[in-house]
Amino acid sequence: MDFPMFHLDWLNNRMLIAIIAILHVIINHGLAVGFMPFVTWLEQRGVSRSGKDQITDLEWDKMVYKIMKVAFIITTTIGAMTGVGIWFSVALVSPASIGSLIRVFFWAWFTEWIVFVTEVILIMVYFLTWKNSNSSLKAKIRHINFGWYLSIFSWITMAIIVSILGFMMDPGNWQTHHSLLNGFTNPIYLPQLLFRTPTAMLVAGIFGMFLITLFTKKDTNLRTSAVKYASKWLLLWAPISLIGAFIYYRAMPEAMTANLSTAVGTITFAQYYNTLLYVAFAGAGLTIIIGIIGVYKTKLLKPYMVVIPVVTAIAYLGFFERVREFIRKPYVISQYMYSNLLLKDDYVVYKQDGVLKHATYTTVNEVTEENKVEAGKNVFTIACSRCHTAQGVNSVVYVFDRMYGGTGKPLDIASMAAYMPNMHTGRTFMPEFPGNEKEAEALATYIRYLQQTGDVLEGAQEEGITINPNNTASALINKKK
């Protein structure tokens, strides 16, 4: 509408964000939030393992240093850059929404940034002073304390982010009072934190165990005792994570009923929701098994076995993120902005005049008999392209065909056109169709055209843009004369 539309026709725009975001969450939870206390704890074990005349058990300390090195490198490269990447990709796919959120929650983001800067500085200090700190017991203890501060800061960063996520899901808040506190009082805030904290610890323990098996030799005393420690860590956090998952699971429908009374009823969500607990049980269960083997039959544990829970842990986290995303639909900002980036309040205008008339970037601003396909393409770009592609993942042709029985027969334009004005009632995860009747018909014509030609939709990054003559500087000035 007001921004050139970036569009990925194969991957799907939402998928792009999801991939980057899930990668970020895994690194942030698994190698920062949960990992820092894990490493600090192990470092402290090293000091208590050592003899009276030593500062720390040097062999042990070296191993802990190595696993920290991996975490340090990954968090300061992939971790940091995927964090920026979420922002970049959301700004490309959903510019109006992130633009609005930043205006309202500027201070939340600014605070988050300050905490983040502190976290990065602490992580550098912690890692880069490690070797020097082995010179005296006093320095070592100070270093360990640094590790604990760092752990606290990592956790605070997460706690703030969760609250920012909370804003976007909570109804009402947006219109009434835009304050940071609302994010924290959101009904889903505490459950989320209760779930994320132990799960971060759990995932960190799994990553840690994997790295321990990489950096120690088979059948050494070092490996056996390190794996034992990691296993105990897992056994501590796995049940807590499971309880957290359950609380979160229970809190979800309530948050949603408040948000959009209907979303719970949608099938796709229901399917996800029902699988959620199984995934949680599988994830936590597997780690418990590994933990038990690690404590009692340490020798049996091979590095490749640890890969299994690593993968499960990633799936576990990823799955919860996916479900959380679903709660927001059809809004990006609850009750204010739909996922197609149009404001709920502006719909009266679009329904009255049609969307094309008011779009800044469109090749056609009024539907005629001749330009239906072209007009439909522009309507699609504005109304559907944030969630659907023309031919790729979740393609509009595929969803229509599936809805009409999955026969692959030519789609019926009249039926599709009749579907549009009511699409939000049957499938409440989608926003209401924003245009007028003619535009609905044009869109249906375009979808049929897509089905029969296999044409794809190029985004502004490839095709550039065409400016609607209604919305140029000269049009505006002429009107004001």
């Binding site: 921004f3 992939i78 850059m81 633009g99 009374s261 009266v348």
Partner: protein, 449 residues
Amino acid sequence: MLTSLFIALQSATPVPKDIPLPLPLPEWLLIFLLVVSFLVHILFVNLMVGGSLLTLWSQIKGLKNKEYDILAHEIATTITVNKSMAVVMGIAPLLCINVLYTIYFYSANALTGLMWLAVIPLVTVAFLLTYLHKYTWKLLENNKPVHISILAVAVIIFLFIPFIFLTNINLMLFPEKWALVKGFFSAMTLPNVFPRYFHFIFASLSITGLFLHWYMGRKNYPFDTIFPTFSRYELKKKGYSLTLVASVIQFLIGPLVLLTLPSKGLGWNLVLVIFIGAAIAIPAMWMMWKGIQGDERTIDKDFKKVLILMTITVVFMGTGRQIYRSNALEKHRELVRLKTDEFQQIKKDAIPKSKEAKAQESTANLTEAQKGENVFKQNCTACHKPDVKLVGPPVIEMASIYKGNKAGLQSWIKKPGKKRADAPQMPGFESQLNQEQLDQLAEYILTIK
């Protein structure tokens, strides 16, 4: 050629409407935050880019003279720290520019979309390579070509990324060009990107020179145990020389940047700020020259002054950059404001009209079945038609299934089951329809002819 000319003639300036929300802070404060935080960010970026260039140069020289290899190693350890700072410090200016220039910045991002997004993987890879380079120094000691190549790839990436940022930051200033741009490369060739690029590269070298001077001179730096033959004085002198030469070159590129700036943002305020900034650098350059000419005891003498003067220059240049931006966008932002207000007015006018239309519908004397038909239209026509199968069965089929069984029909609507193998699941309407509506619906369905 002909088509591009055609498009050029057609091109117009888009006037989108802005996000209808107030700024979170007074505009001047946001601009202040933007300028300051950007300078901090770019300082670390300069050190990262300049540092990696210097490391590469030094390591290549180190093939012949081992001492330079040690120097390369020492500079390399600073890159990975500076790069982390560059990233985190980049978030604040990103936040500010997003708030201040939402429409402009995001539009430029979208128009160069793939390359803009490529910043993320490219920077990630470059960072990983700098770590790889740093931590394989010993391992690849006898395989220098491979070791140096790792860094070389990182350097190439570091040298390319500024193009992406400059292209965006440049494109956002010219909405009148947006319709002409097709992808990143066409945006990159807009005037001014290249001169600004070289201005940036030499700024990096210049700042890295000063950094080298400071780094090698630190009191707690165990210089003598690290370098067998180099002296602190020698390296400080090298740092100064680098800064001096790069600054002289800046005096050649600077005017070029100014000249290639499209005239729409030029103004006396801009020229004044830039000239003052440049003038302040001159005494600093003089002091560095004296330092290089002098000996071991005098090289540190004016270092603090040089730093202060150069910092002031940088602040002036950063301010100039913002002045150009405000000048260039001032008029267009005015138009956007008009447009935004105009739309709000249209909306105000549309609301009563749509209310009226709705009111007319509901006050009309409808029969129970007609009311039911309306409910049906709103909720069910997406999937059901009166007489033919769409997603679900036609209404006539419903009527025959539920003849005389109003309660059964209503309970299906509230909580549908699953009957037909070839049909998807029908969504439930329990929370959306009240009993009155359900009764109207039933009336409509069961009396359809």
